[in-house]
């Protein structure tokens, strides 16, 4: 009876869900406690195994969901219980959270394996192999926090994960905290990311507080159930403050400035945290809060415009960047803009679909970029240790291995990396039938229905995307090597290339999970999001237009960065522009290269006044007013005067006067009385005699 029921309903593994957090936690603890004594291979294996096990659990959960589409809430314990408020520590298992778990653990596992190889070289290149252990401890901690974030069943638990990933992001951006510009550049980048995220978290917290006031609960189910009855003003406030949190975590206007600087972290960090998973947490949050957002169209509009503008804005900046990772960073901001816009316009399926696809191809691109960087570092290393070559090449030591102007011609030297990079770049550019095409097109189709302007915005952003990816591939892999180090670059080891190939395979094939007309992924999400998830219609016009535009942009990039670039090499070095676009765009290129001077603008408008205000508060208010005047003058000198009054006047005058006076009186009295003591016995006898006579006389005459 029971057995047949189980068989009929399929296997059910929901109770396993705490393990997705527990496995990485165990891996983290093993590496934390025993890591000093373990070899690099074992540390890497432990960390990777922990993530792979979490992936297996996520897969089991996914299988269970096929038989039980309603999912489950797995309570572990009561977490906070104050008065009416009861917040459980409970895991939400449904198609949305499991999708995120699969992405986090899947991409995470591949990046862990890649990092085993990458960090082996990286710690040696930076000259501190002992940090290998620390890296994997942080990496597993990140998986723990991210899993808590996506598996939470209430906003407060989600916030714990949200802060946890922020912490890991900070720790890993500043992983080489003693390196970078002026020996402190990386630390500053980490701090910038952390503080910018705090501004966003402030919004998240305010949203949570308002939620508590109006709902009295944080659990998703309860909040969504009550939402229609709550005043729409409160929900508007919640959703907008939440958007501030989203803008911080998912690097949207105006809080995106931290993400490009976050590239100071090792490349696997950029791939896992700052491209594939953490930065998509904001998108997840909006998708998770879909029942709230659909109630307030105003908030949805704001979300869409923030996303759309970010998409275009960041895409234009990416065109003029030279750092291979910065290009990808701005590309990530732009793609996150696509996702945010998608979830904002109610196209939750398209948004999450793009999130998953982006996780694959952007992780692929970042990891390949890491492979390129290390390839060039190996080339530089090779030259430094070859006396014959070292004489010819003088620039090797100061070479920036991330500057695309130093690259070129890597196609023949790093074949695997080239092919996987090409696949990732074409997927990002939106060339069918790669992953990015399907998801981006769904967003564009939805935007076309939602609002014509947003559609135009996103389409232009997509054109820029294709252009800068073409530019990047051509600058890095085509033409002739522009430095000696690049000329001697070599392919990365298998431990790095195999995860790249797997990710490339996923990038090619993953788009099939949500093919037009079939919408497997859409129906999968419908189990959780119900009527909020609607399958996006495939519009042949939109798809064709975007494909044609993308190919045009790629051809333009080909013309500029292959033909122009080649002919530019004939010019004398002094006159030769470093980018073919520079003479064409002129000052606009400089504007883009300097990121619209947004960092400078923020410094001018926010940072400098803030520093000035701080200095004013510190110097004038705190030091001069409080310290010099209030403390020293008002309190200290008043007290001093009071103390001197009470010590000189009261203590010395009155108290001591009484004591001394008493002594003096006694002394002078004693001086008078001592004369009575003559020392003559007979005198004493006489006084006794008279005394007796007196007493007797008194007694008798009484």
């Amino acid at each position: 009876m029971l057995l047949s029921e189980v068989a009929a309903n399929g296997p059910q593994f929901f109770y396993l869900v705490p393990l997705v957090v527990l496995f990485p936690l165990i891996g983290l603890l093993i590496n934390l406690i025993f890591g000093k004594r373990l070899s690099e291979t074992i540390i890497g294996t432990v960390a990777s195994t922990a993530t792979v096990l979490a992936l297996l659990v996520a897969v089991l959960l996914g299988i269970s969901l096929v038989g039980h589409p309603e999912g489950a809430i797995v309570p572990v314990m009561t977490w906070i219980h104050i008065g009416e408020l009861n917040i459980p520590w409970a895991f939400q298992v449904d198609s949305l959270s499991v999708t995120m778990m699969l992405v986090v653990a899947g991409v995470g596992a591949l990046i862990h394996v890649y990092a085993v190889g990458y960090m082996h070289d990286d710690v040696r290149h930076h000259g501190d192999p002992s940090r290998y252990q620390r890296f994997f401890v942080f990496f597993n901690l990140f998986i723990v926090a991210m899993m808590i974030l996506v598996s939470a069943n209430n906003y407060l638990m989600l916030f714990i994960g949200w802060e946890g990933v922020g912490l890991c992001s900070y720790l890993l951006i500043g992983f080489w905290y003693d390196k970078g510009e002026g020996g402190i550049g990386n630390a500053i980048a980490g701090k910038k990311a952390f503080i910018t995220n705090r501004i966003g978290d402030f919004g998240f917290l305010l949203a949570a507080f308002i939620m508590f006031v109006f709902f009295g609960t944080f659990t998703f189910e309860a909040v969504f159930e009550q939402a229609p009855e709550v005043a729409s003003g409160a929900i508007l406030a919640i959703t907008l403050f939440m958007l501030l949190g989203v803008a911080g975590k998912s690097a949207q206007i105006p809080l995106y400035v931290w993400l490009p600087d976050a590239m100071a972290g090792p490349t696997p960090v950029s791939a896992l945290i700052h491209a594939a998973t953490m930065v998509t947490a904001g998108v997840y949050l909006v998708a998770r809060s879909a029942p709230l957002y659909v109630l307030v169209p105003e908030a949805q509009n704001v979300v869409v415009w923030v996303g759309g503008l970010t998409a275009l804005f960041a895409a234009t900046i990416a065109v003029a960047q030279f750092d291979i990772k910065k290009v990808l960073a701005y590309s990530t901001i732009s793609q996150l803009g696509f996702m945010v816009a998608a979830v904002g316009m109610g196209a939750f399926v398209a948004g999450i679909f793009h999130l998953v696809m982006h996780a694959f191809f952007k992780a692929l691109l970042f990891l390949s970029a890491g492979s390129v960087i290390q390839g060039i570092e190996r080339g530089a290393h090779h030259i430094e240790h070859d006396p014959a070559l070292r004489k010819q090449a003088k620039d090797v030591h100061d070479l920036d291995p991330q500057d695309m102007r130093n690259m070129g011609g890597l196609r023949t030297r790093m074949k695997t990396t080239f092919w996987v990079y090409l696949i990732g770049a074409l997927a990002l550019a939106g060339i069918p039938p790669l992953a990015g095409f399907w998801s981006k097109d769904e967003i564009l189709a939805e935007a076309n229905i939602f609002n014509g302007w947003v559609y135009v915005l996103l389409t232009v952003a997509a054109v820029f995307t294709a252009f800068y990816m073409g530019r990047q591939v051509l600058m890095v892999f085509f033409g002739k090597p522009r430095t000696a180090a690049t000329a001697h670059a070599s392919e990365s080891p298998n431990v790095m290339t195999v995860p790249l190939m797997i990710l490339a395979g996923l990038t090619i094939l993953a788009g099939t999970i949500n093919l037009p007309g079939v919408h497997t992924f859409g129906h999968w999400l419908e189990q959780t999001m119900e009527e909020n998830a609607h399958a996006g219609e495939f519009v042949i016009f939109v798809a064709a237009l975007s494909t044609i535009l993308a190919i045009t942009a790629l051809l333009l990039a080909y013309y500029l960065y292959y033909h122009r670039y080649k002919s530019m090499q004939d010019q004398p070095a002094a006159k030769r522009p470093d980018d073919p676009l520079r003479p064409i765009l002129g000052p606009v290129f400089k504007l883009l290269e300097n990121k619209y001077y947004i960092d400078e603008l923020y410094s001018l408008v926010i940072l400098n006044p803030y520093v000035k205000l701080s200095q004013f508060l510190a110097d004038v208010i705190d030091w001069q007013f409080w310290h010099d005047w209030f403390h020293d003058v008002v309190i200290a000198s008043t007290y001093n005067r009071l103390a001197s009054f009470s010590s000189i006047q009261i203590d010395l005058g009155v108290i001591d006067g009484i004591a001394n006076g008493l002594a003096k009186v006694t002394q002078s009295l004693a001086g008078q009385m001592r004369r009575l003591q003559t020392g003559y016995v007979r005198g004493y006898a006489l006084s006794v005699f008279f005394g007796v006579v007196l007493i007797l006389g008194y007694l008798m005459l009484r």
Binding site: M673, R674, R675, L676, Q677, T678, G679, Y680, V681, R682, A685, L686, F689
Partner: protein
């Protein structure tokens, strides 16, 4: 039998002689003897009244006084000997170390 006032009168005379002796003489031994005189004047008064009232307690009290006087003589003479040893004199006017 003589009236009791005679005895009391004698006692008073003896006491007065003793008291004057203590006050005016400088020789320690004489002062000592004067003290004995006063004690015995008191003794005489005691026994006189004991006899008049037929109360034995007055006579018993005399024994106590005599015992105390004996002890006093022992201590006093010892003191006088010691003083003489140090000062080569028993003149009480020279013993004024307690002068204020």
């Amino acid at each position: 039998m003589l009236p009791v006032s005679y005895y009391i009168g004698l006692s008073a005379v003896l006491f007065t002689i003793g008291a004057v002796g203590v006050l005016i003489r400088r020789n320690a031994i004489v002062i000592f003897m004067s003290i004995e005189l006063m004690l015995n004047a008191a003794n005489l008064a005691f026994v006189s009244y004991a006899r008049v009232h037929g109360a034995i307690s007055g006579q018993i009290f005399v024994f106590f006084v005599m015992a105390v006087a004996a002890a006093e003589v022992a201590v006093g003479l010892a003191l006088i000997v010691t003083i003489f040893n140090t000062k080569q004199s028993i003149d009480v006017d020279q013993m004024n170390a307690l002068k204020g």
